[in-house]
Amino acid sequence: MLRYLTGFVVIFAACFGLQTVALRLSGGKTLKSESNYFSSVARVQTETQGSPRVMLLGSSITGRLGDRAEKIAGVANLGCDGGSAMVTLRAIDEGLLPTAPVMIIEANTLAYELEHRGKDIGKAIHSDWFKVGLKTPNLSATARPTAFAYSWLIARKADGGVASGDEVLPITSKPGVLDPATSPALDEKSTALVEEMAGILKRLENKGSKIFIVMLPGVPKDFPRKEIAVALACKSGVPWWDLTEGLPANAVGFTDGLHLDALSAQKVMNTLRAQLIER
């Protein structure tokens, strides 16, 4: 029994020791996990630490900006793979996550909420395990041993690294408030969702947050429903900005038709920084 316990304790402690060292060397977070679910939870756990000035809320389209563009100090990326900004918006509204002075909401996938996509991540944010991960980094989603391995593999890929540069998107549009009279007609379920989202945005504005709804390059082919985001912008009076408006077809590239490649992610972040982040 003693020999068994010795072997157990030594290896168990060594594994935690190695993980701690790896976590320190990687700056407290890994780039990406092989699991979309854990990548999202990891983003939410690590990016809400401290007091971010700006929060980007959205899906994996938003998440890609954090994974492949240069990190901007004070900007938290809360992209939820497979979900939408509503997953984190609800958690912020419930007080489970902190707010930020500037909140940028990805419009592309807001309609996903009609199908409750990303509810697993929402459930995770409510769980005790999520809170344990916030207090004990070794048990957080970003410190998963497989996340270190997967991040290392991504970093080795030719197109997998993080881009840099100052180039912005070749567009002339600016954020602006939409006329409520131009709000598209919606069915009952969509209207209820827009009402709920508008209520959350109002409460966040009352707490002092400046909010923007932004359409990023990359349209989900299976469930576009852009009108829901437009209706939300009309209903809430929150500034709307469509980055795809007037964007030349070859101005950005995608790795899979939906998620931006590193260079394009950097361009989008530079564009957002110029207009919204450093205003």
Partner: protein, 495 residues
């Protein structure tokens, strides 16, 4: 309640502490059986206490039937009343199972004019009592074993008690049906192998070495392997358009991952159940014996879900005549048993198809291997190795591709899968391949260990040392804690 939930750990700890309280004499047995019945009821009724009613009815009805069978067997019984009680009880159990599990598929298969849509909708809204297939098979095993006189005389005496003694006999019988480690998803324990084990248990008798082996390996297979693979394999069911648009490497990675996931999920559950059983002094049967080492489908069914195979053999295949009534009847029996075995998994025709295809391969192998029996033993070593490799590739891929019928909602999705296989898109999908190598690799390593134990037991024995075992368990527990998959229920809970 799930084995991998916090509330279960609390229930387990409390039950274990109370179970081994130093109670002297005959009361110890009464206390322990009673406590396990209470704990099992909490475990089963945690999500939906209403389900306990059906379980209680099943226990009460089977208890009465067993008492009556034993009563009439102890007498002259010229009218064959014990057999009548047996038949009635079997029918009652099967009616319960049919109503709660198969009513939807039975009525749904009838012509539309025969049944109104409202009634059909109501039937389909009846919730499936979790684990009903498992505890019904337990009950049938009990009735048949008692009628066949294959339980010990002492157990017969105990189960056949009347008056106040009936409470004790009903408790023993109920414990066999509801014992929480095996209640929801097996292993399916035969009555003769469980009831004779019921006696007062002592803390010092716990086989801790096997408890820790079963629990660590079981939780590792479930939480680290199966739950992590499930996120990738979910892509197999997202729709036929997406499947048809996927490339063959992506699809095969997901298919292999599903094969490894379902093994890790069910074998993990079974190992946890066996480990928990040992903690309370009960030995449950092994359920898996490295099934992906099989060189044929026949061998696969001697290694996969052993307790179900044994149940079907003892209570269905042999009573149907087995292989004693000529080759033609043997093929029919194999086919029929596998068809029913497939349907046992779920009230959908896809499960029947899965079982039937396995039955067809079993019959085909029986035909081929019987006619070539003389050739098989005479090969030289390299030839045998080559032949075994070919047979392994056949058996492994037959099992993998047949999982498609088990998993996919319909034939259109299976068609889309094969369309995608032929798409010629050879791009390498990062996440599914990574998951297959890391998590599926654990199942491969597990089977390599099984291969070593079977082919080179002396070398395998050299690896078994408390220090290395402790180190391996330390690594596995670390991965369970830091790298779990998203929490999910066990696949076999739905059956």
């Amino acid at each position: 309640m799930l084995f991998n939930s916090f509330e279960f750990l609390v229930l387990l700890a409390v039950t274990l502490l109370l179970y081994y309280l130093p109670i002297a004499g005959r009361l110890a047995r009464v206390w322990q059986v009673g406590l396990l019945l209470v704990a099992s009821s909490i475990f089963y009724g945690w999500e939906n206490p209403k389900l306990l009613i059906l379980l209680a009815v099943s226990c009460a009805a089977n208890s009465l039937a067993v008492e009556r069978i034993l009563f009439w067997k102890g007498r002259d019984d010229p009218g064959g009343r014990s057999k009548r009680w047996l038949t009635a009880a079997i029918i009652l159990n099967l009616v319960f199972l049919a109503f709660f599990k198969y009513a939807g598929i039975i009525y749904g298969s009838l012509p539309g004019a025969w049944i109104s849509q409202d009634v059909l909708k109501w039937i389909r809204s009846i919730p499936l009592p979790i684990g009903i297939s498992f505890y019904t098979f337990h009950a049938l095993s009990l009735l048949i074993d008692v009628h066949r006189n294959v339980v010990t005389a002492e157990t017969q005496e105990r189960l056949g008690r009347r008056g106040m003694g009936r409470i004790a006999s009903a408790s023993d019988l109920s414990l066999y049906i509801v014992f929480f480690p095996q209640l929801v998803a097996g292993p399916i324990v035969k009555a003769r192998n469980f009831i004779d084990q019921i006696r007062a248990k002592l803390w010092r008798e716990i086989d801790w070495i096997n408890v820790r082996r079963c629990l660590v390996t079981g939780y590792f297979l479930k939480i680290f392997v199966a739950d992590n693979l499930s996120e990738q394999t979910a892509m197999l069911t997202i729709g036929k358009e997406a499947l048809a648009a996927s490339g063959p490497i992506n699809l095969m990675a997901m298919l292999y991952s599903y094969g490894f996931q379902i093994f890790a999920d069910f074998a993990g559950y079974s190992l946890i159940a066996i480990g928990l059983g040992l903690m309370f002094g009960y030995r449950l049967p092994e359920n898996f014996n490295f099934p992906y080492l099989s060189l044929s489908i026949t061998e696969f069914w001697r290694r996969w879900h052993l307790s179900l195979s044994a149940w079907l053999r003892d209570y269905l295949y042999i009573p149907l005549g087995g292989n004693r009534m000529g080759p033609g009847r043997t093929y029919v029996n194999l086919f029929l048993v596998m068809f029913l075995g497939g349907l046992w998994h779920g009230a959908e025709w896809k499960f029947a198809l899965w079982g039937t295809l396995h039955g067809s391969l079993l019959a085909a192998e029986r035909f081929i291997f019987r006619s070539r029996a003389g050739d098989l033993g005479s090969s030289s070593s390299p030839v045998r190795m080559l032949r075994d490799s070919v047979r392994w590739i056949y058996a492994f891929h037959a099992v993998m591709f047949l999982w498609l019928t088990f998993l996919m909602p319909d034939m259109a999705n299976i068609g889309a899968f094969f369309k995608g296989l032929g798409s010629g898109d050879l791009s390498l999908p990062g996440q599914p391949l990574f998951a297959l190598f890391v998590y599926g690799g654990m199942v491969v390593l597990y089977h390599l260990w099984g291969w070593l134990k079977e082919k080179h037991p002396e070398r395998a024995a050299g690896f078994i040392h408390p220090l290395t075992e402790g180190a391996l368990h330390g690594l596995m527990v670390f991965l369970i804690l830091t790298n779990p998959g998203a929490p999910r229920g066990f696949i076999y809970f739905q059956f």
